[in-house]
Amino acid sequence: MRSLYVEGDSRLHRLSPRIKLILLVTVSLALFLTRSPIVLGGAALAGILIYASLRMGWRQSWLRLRPILLTIAVVALATLILNTAEEGMVVLLRLTTLMLVAAAVTATTPVGSFIEEISSAARPLERIGLVRADDIGLAVGLVIRFVPEVVSRYDILRQAHRARGLKLRPMTVIVPLTIQTLKSADEIAAAIDARGIRGHKPPSRS
């Protein structure tokens, strides 16, 4: 699985992830506080310039945004028809700007920096016993590691169906896929504990 991060050395790349996330939240709040089409139009233009400054190429830039832009366009069109043209414009400009800025943050921040940022944000929660900060990175790693495994299990199931002349049905795929995958949990958990990855403290709650 390839992340949506794009290698580069722009000013946005060098900015700390924390600042980028705070800026993103500020921008989204600001966008929802104004209803002026001129201000929102200017913001959208700025969003396009920021996104374009990443130089991902036309095709890549478009492909990343296409599915989200499509839902924004459909909803903006519905608002335009059912309410007023002005409201439709406001929805379109506001969400498009937000999408562009968010996509720019994603393209300039590597997955590892995000995880570091989230883990350090979770430290205070660790003190009240809600979550172990290091578990977040571990869990994310586990998911990334096991997606290809689940997909290859699906391929084996598909071939088994074909060999028997059966059609793929949700029930005959999802049930064995789930059981086979979850059955490996004990082994994986034992491997993690044997390596002392989560430290030697006994688990706080089972």
Partner: protein, 187 residues
Amino acid sequence: MSTRDLVLSALFAAIIVALGLLPPIMLGFIPVPITAQSMGVMLAGVVLGARRGTIAVLLVLLLAAIGLPVLSGGRGGLAVFAAPTTGFLIGWVFAAFVTGFLSERFVRSSQGAALQTAGFFAAAVAGGVVVLYAFGISYLAVVSGLGFTKAFVGSMAFIPGDLVKAAVTALAGRAVMAGYPLLPARA
């Protein structure tokens, strides 16, 4: 949280991600292909219960937020949270929780198969349809300025499909429980 619970949540998150990568599966009796990913959310609650199911869904959303294309159709990154349909993504967390919470209370291993399936179906409809749409429609109504009535009518078209998914979830949840029971028992 025990290491086993953490691993179970992560494995289920991997299943939900994989369900989004797979081509849509055809059901026998209706001609519309179903995207399996949103079904994975209900299934997480039904199979793992409230706590682990919710964590599995949170992990999927976390992976999407940090820039991995884990949502169906290869969507990912912070931009997916800027769509008018973001309420449905946020609703996933609560859908998995409610489905799991109710499953733990409705379904017992001592019950017959039909009763278990009915319990899972009720839990999946309450979580995966009622709660999910409450979040999705509210968010859509506010963000688009359409108002609740229009947002509700616009979302109606998707409800039959999600009811079918709830039914498949119930059957699958029953079968998984028979083969490899994981749902925490509640008095």
